[in-house]
């Protein structure tokens, strides 16, 4: 153990040196720019402060995005132009249409249920007394700390199927059998419900996130507003619908869109649970499959572009919402 630590000491030292060097250079630059007075000051400051991040965004984000778009118009080995063939494949091949449909189902169902569950739970938690609230919230938030792959491995065991004649290993099957069903189905093969079983994992993870964020914003609602509502005679449910929800509307939308974007990118769950088989594939999983398993770079890139285009309006909406929130305060 100590040997491993000693061996890696130089690495940490190099890292430290690089960090110190980085901050030293930035510090000197900012200091130098600070010395300059007059007309050059403002443009120079903009270049110095914005330049590095602009450069990194260009190299790490803009350039790869442009390259991906270019590759999506080329064939599997990127040697010839094929026009819109790859996009044609995505929108006309029955298997790919199924992938798009599945993704659409994910987008519609998973974020709404996660957010709604999170909202209901946060209201319930808000009514709890003392330690109970903290414990309940921690327990629900816990799955958030597990990676999607880890969560999928756990749920794989939940959905595991064995013929009733053998000892059951699947929690779900065993529970159903306790309730008197003699022959539980092989859950993962139940189309189209298997898609929903996979979404359960996402919901399980994301509900905790929604709960914590929404709970904080419910707590931030001024007491007098709630008191006024009570005095006006608004009962629990009416208070929730007409006071609580409108008061946290902004946060609700941010939570919803954040989960939505996570859902659009969902890949780990599908890959771990089914590998995209049994009609459960989604765009991100198909993109990986086409690019890194079947080595069809053209189709993989086209799928990436489809995903990218689908995310743009969401991101735009999310940012606008965040800005509005900020300007309101």
């Amino acid at each position: 153990m100590t040997e491993v630590l000693l061996d890696s000491l130089p690495k940490f030292a190099t890292m430290l040196q690089m960090l110190v060097g980085f901050f030293a250079i930035i510090g000197i630059l900012i200091f130098a720019v600070g010395l300059i007075r007059g007309r050059a000051q403002r443009p120079l400051a903009i270049i110095v402060l914005l330049g590095p991040s602009l450069l990194l965004v260009t190299v790490g984000l803009v350039f790869p995005a442009i390259r991906t778009i270019i590759l999506s118009f080329k064939n599997s080995s990127s040697t010839d132009w094929v026009g819109f063939d790859n996009y044609g494949f995505i929108f006309t091949n029955p298997g790919q249409q199924r992938v798009l449909l599945n993704t659409l189902c994910w987008i519609i169902i998973a974020p709404i249920i996660s957010t709604a569950l999170g909202l209901v739970l946060s209201v319930i938690a808000d009514q709890m007394k003392g330690k109970a609230e903290a414990i309940a919230k921690s327990l629900i938030f816990l799955p958030m700390a597990i990676s999607f792959v880890g969560a999928s491995v756990i749920w794989n065991l939940v959905y595991a199927y064995r013929d009733p004649q053998y000892e059951q290993t699947g929690l779900f099957s065993q529970m159903v059998m306790w309730f008197g069903v003699d022959n539980p189905p092989n859950w993962i093969l139940m189309e189209p419900w298997n898609n929903f079983f996979l979404m359960m994992i996402m919901i399980w993870v994301e509900t905790g996130f929604a709960l914590v964020v929404l709970s904080a914003s419910i707590k931030a609602i001024p007491k007098d507003v709630m008191e006024a509502a009570t005095l006006d005679g608004a009962s629990g449910p009416r208070q929730f619908v007409f006071v609580t929800v409108p008061m946290i509307r902004g946060t609700l939308i941010v939570v919803y869109t954040t989960i939505l974007i996570a859902v659009l990118k969902v890949f780990d769950i599908v890959q771990t649970m089914t590998g995209g088989n049994f009609n459960t594939s989604v765009v991100a999983n198909e993109m990986y499959n086409q690019t890194f398993v079947q080595f069809n770079v053209g189709r993989g890139s086209a799928l990436a572009v489809v995903l990218f285009v689908a995310v743009i309006p969401l991101i735009y909406y999310n940012i606008r919402q965040l800005r509005r929130e900020r300007s309101e305060r």
Partner: protein
């Protein structure tokens, strides 16, 4: 208190600086002193065997592959003596996304000196890259060594447009069936040596109310690959090497009389509700069971046989005794469907392919092509088999390694490389996996074969 804290920080910082200077001064671990001095001239007695590779002292060859620790540790132990005697430092990097990273590195012009490529298809891609640094053909000595000691198909799989690119590293054999010697002995079953015997045995077991076979093809993105192995075993052993080669090349379609025939045989075996799926349930559970779990019911007596490659040995729980004489598990050679095809053997392996023809790289390549390399590697750890016929068979200690080596080096064996690795990726790593997975979930044979044919690239 505050003072002492400051001192600690200062000491730590200076230590870190010293450490980093040492770290930057280059990572040689004292390998080049006594031994390398001798390498230019004649080597010392214990290094005499490496005389042919002398003259490259102080050089470095970087090797890149998909083999990960602990297997790669055994490999590095095995070539340590070569490194010490020749002074060539072989630096190995294992990467579990090797297959997608290698093309990226080669296209970017920074390939490794030698790549350990597990798929002939990837050798072809590396040899015909349009941009970047291509693979270079192997030196003539390597070709001569491989031609002398390996069956000719190994040479063919590493040949692209008439140029030979590299010799094999390890080989694995897939044509085997795992079973429990204890369970067989207790029930009085004998190991079948013909296809008919195997089917009779299956019927006998099925009559007792148990399922003779178990299987699982789940494997994440690669779900379906074990099913492609079953098809390949049957194409080779029912139709012969000629049909196999044409099928792999795409000259015989999936939806052809030959492959339809093969699918019917497989239908009566691994899709037979009386035969499968021991320990799991109905036929469809083959699609949802991971290949890792597939054989475990053999240990609990709920299943009797599993067709799976030799490397399945790594999946048994710790403490499982692998021994044909009264062990918990062992394997027998999967009998051919049609005995007139000879001794069909399906397997795989990795090839050493160089991207550089520096003399030290070639020296390492030549060393890897000699029987001395497998003979250095085999004693280090079990689970590694060479198809080199000149290798001393008594070096193998594990019964599965022995069985694999016996068939892989048998001059009469009809060896073929795993077909799905040879087909275009859209088929062999795409449609064939998906379609066969669906086949076990109830899709008709006709629809399955048509779906695979439709994915075959047209350009």
């Amino acid at each position: 208190m505050r003072r002492s804290h400051k001192t600690t920080v200062a000491v730590l910082a200076s230590l870190a600086l010293v450490g980093s200077v040492a770290g930057c001064s280059g990572g040689d671990d004292g390998g080049d002193d006594a031994t390398t001095a001798a390498s230019e001239a004649t080597m010392s007695a214990e290094c005499a065997a490496y005389q042919d590779y002398a003259g490259h002292s102080g050089t470095t060859v970087d090797v890149y592959g998909s083999i990960l620790s602990p297997e790669s540790d055994s490999m590095e132990t095995a070539w340590k003596e070569f490194e010490e005697c020749t002074g060539i430092d072989i630096v190995y990097t294992g990467d579990n996304s090797f297959e997608s990273q290698l093309p990226i590195r080669a296209q970017g012009g920074t390939p490794p000196d030698i790549a350990v490529i597990p798929q002939p298809g990837l050798i072809q891609r590396m040899a015909t890259l349009a941009t970047g640094t291509k693979a270079v053909p192997a030196p003539d000595e390597v070709k001569a060594n491989i031609e002398a000691n390996y069956s000719s198909s190994w040479v063919d799989y590493a040949t692209v447009d008439g140029e030979f690119y590299g010799g094999p590293n390890s080989a694995n054999m897939k044509t085997m069936v795992w079973y429990s010697p204890t369970a067989f002995a207790a029930a009085g079953y004998a190991i079948p040596t013909t296809w008919e015997e195997m089917m009779t045995l299956s019927d006998t077991i099925a009559a007792t109310g148990k399922k003779p076979w178990c299987g699982g093809i789940g494997s994440g993105t690669a779900t379906g690959w074990p099913a492609t192995d079953w098809v390949e075993e049957l194409v080779l052993s029912a139709k012969g090497g000629d049909v196999y080669d044409k099928w792999v090349a795409g000259d015989i379609k999936f939806n052809s009389p030959e492959i339809n025939d093969v699918m019917n045989i497989l239908d009566g075996w691994m899709r037979n509700p009386n035969y499968v799926n021991g320990g799991f349930g109905d036929v469809a559970t083959i699609a949802t069971t991971t290949f890792q779990d597939a054989g475990l019911p053999i240990l609990s007596g709920e299943c009797f046989m599993l067709q799976q490659a030799g490397f399945y040995g790594a999946q048994w729980p710790e403490g499982t005794k692998v021994d044909p004489d009264g062990g918990d598990v062992a394997a027998f050679y999967l009998p051919p469907y049609d005995a007139s095809t000879g001794k069909p053997v399906i397997g795989g392996g990795e090839f050493f392919v160089a991207f550089n023809d520096r003399p030290e790289v070639q020296a390492v390549q030549i060393y890897f092509s000699t029987p001395e390399w497998p003979e250095a590697r085999i004693p280090v750890a079990t689970g590694w088999v060479s198809a080199n016929k000149a290798v001393d068979q008594s070096l193998y200690t594990d019964p599965i390694d022995k069985l694999s080596a016996q068939y892989l080096t048998d001059p009469e064996a009809l060896f073929r490389f795993d077909g799905s690795d040879l087909m275009p990726a859209a088929v062999g790593s795409g449609a064939e996996w998906t379609a066969l997975t669906n086949w076990f979930n109830g899709t008709s044979t006709e629809e399955t074969l048509a779906a695979i044919d439709a994915a075959w690239p047209t350009d």
